[in-house]
């Protein structure tokens, strides 16, 4: 069940965030910051909602929180670099949708963990949320860096006037092949390759763990 959940979350978060975002490392950094901030705030906001005895309105309030946070974050981005905000436009609301669904799945996971007190549930949920966010963030940053370096030939960082870029590969006839990774089909290709690799490693680790347990017996 957990494995299935991970697969759903991974696909949901990736297709909602990694694919539509422009394939530059700078946008990856923005995405990771938004997602981490939203996942953390969901966990803390749940605690507040429970204290206010508004449990029956939790879903609506969480949705309102995420939408408001996305709007505020976009306004901050406009104040820092309006050109980045214009490029991202509606894409900046995608992490909110993914964060909402991931937090719902995490809530189910923590319920099944036999925690005795509400405070323990919150700590467990926060831990699970942040752990998942960290795993996804590492993967997302890797994909964005790969696309930026091999697709565009640069490594970019967010800057006030757009993107601050460091040229890594200069434009040659051969390097033009790498432009595939900068495109949307290229992003899907890298994403599926990463998914296959992660699932393969996890499966092998489980098999190795199973053999080790049998030897202990």
């Amino acid at each position: 069940m957990k494995e299935k959940n991970f697969l759903y979350e991974f696909l949901l978060a990736s297709f909602a965030m990694i694919v539509p975002f422009p394939g530059r490392f700078a946008y990856g950094i923005i995405l990771v910051i938004v997602l981490a901030f939203e996942m953390l705030s969901i966990s803390l906001f749940k605690q507040l909602v429970k204290k206010l005895s508004l449990d029956n309105m939790l879903s609506i309030l969480t949705a309102v929180l995420l939408i408001s946070e996305s709007i505020i974050f976009k306004q901050f981005l406009i104040m820092y670099s309006p050109i980045l905000a214009l490029t991202l436009s509606f894409d900046i609301y995608f992490p909110a949708v993914s964060a909402f669904i991931i937090s719902r799945l995490t809530a189910d996971d923590s319920k099944s963990m036999n925690v005795e007190f509400i405070s323990d549930t919150i700590v467990t949920e926060t831990k699970l949320n942040m752990e998942k966010t960290l795993r996804f963030s590492i993967l997302a940053l890797f994909i964005f860096a790969f696309r930026d370096i091999f697709g565009y030939g640069t490594l970019t960082l967010p800057a006030r006037k757009g993107l601050a870029s460091l040229m890594i590969f200069h434009d040659t006839e051969k390097s033009a092949i790498g432009a595939l990774f900068a495109s949307i089909p290229g992003a899907i290709l890298i994403l599926l390759a990463c998914l296959f690799f992660i699932m393969y490693i996890e499966k092998n680790l489980k098999v190795a763990g199973g053999i080790a347990n049998d030897d202990d017996k």
């Binding site: 422009p22 709007i71 306004q75 309006p82 050109i83 490029t87 495109s183």
Partner: protein
């Protein structure tokens, strides 16, 4: 109503024994709805404040990168002047500036629009003279040479051309393409 007083229609009784209990229950529900409404208003106010704070940056912050694109593409005769307010939904993904053409002593519109291509969303700069039914594409912002070549090859006749015809309509002075 049934949810609030937990009224049982078969026996005709409710869980409340007297009016005091019932009014306490109503009070409890009213408080929670008040808190809920308070949270909504708080978020709404926060959004309003931040939208107002970022307004100036949105209007002026893109001038310099757009001017840079114009200079890099042999359009240094165009000098950006004031921000043009767009009264349509495109105002969130499109910015327009009035520009002075020093060489011809004419005014034109320089438009930065977010277009969706095979390589994701890209901001593109267009120049519209205010009369023709099509704007002129200048270049993309923050784009490397190799991807720019591929982008131009794949979308010059489709997406770039579509937006060139759309820009006059967005600015509000042009005619619909279909007409």
């Amino acid at each position: 109503m049934n949810d609030i007083v937990d009224f049982d229609p078969q026996t005709g009784s409710s869980e409340f024994e007297d009016d005091r209990q019932m009014s306490l229950a109503y009070k409890k529900h009213l408080i929670s709805f008040g808190v809920f409404l308070g949270i909504l208003i708080l978020f709404f106010l926060l959004n309003m404040i931040f939208c107002l704070l970022s307004k100036k940056s949105w209007q002026t912050g893109m001038k310099e990168p757009v001017q840079q694109v114009l200079s890099d593409n042999g359009r240094s005769n165009l000098v950006l002047k004031e921000f043009e307010k767009l009264s349509n939904p495109f105002s969130v993904s499109c910015v327009s500036y009035l520009a002075e053409n020093n060489a011809a002593n004419k005014q034109c519109h320089v438009v930065l629009v977010r277009i969706t291509t095979l390589f994701g969303a890209v901001p593109a700069v267009y120049v519209w003279d205010g009369q023709s039914d099509k704007a002129e594409f200048v270049c993309f912002v923050s784009m490397t040479e190799r991807v720019k070549k591929k982008l131009l090859a794949s979308s010059r006749n489709s997406i770039i051309d579509f937006w060139a015809r759309r820009v006059p309509v967005i600015i509000g002075a042009g005619k619909e393409v279909s007409q």
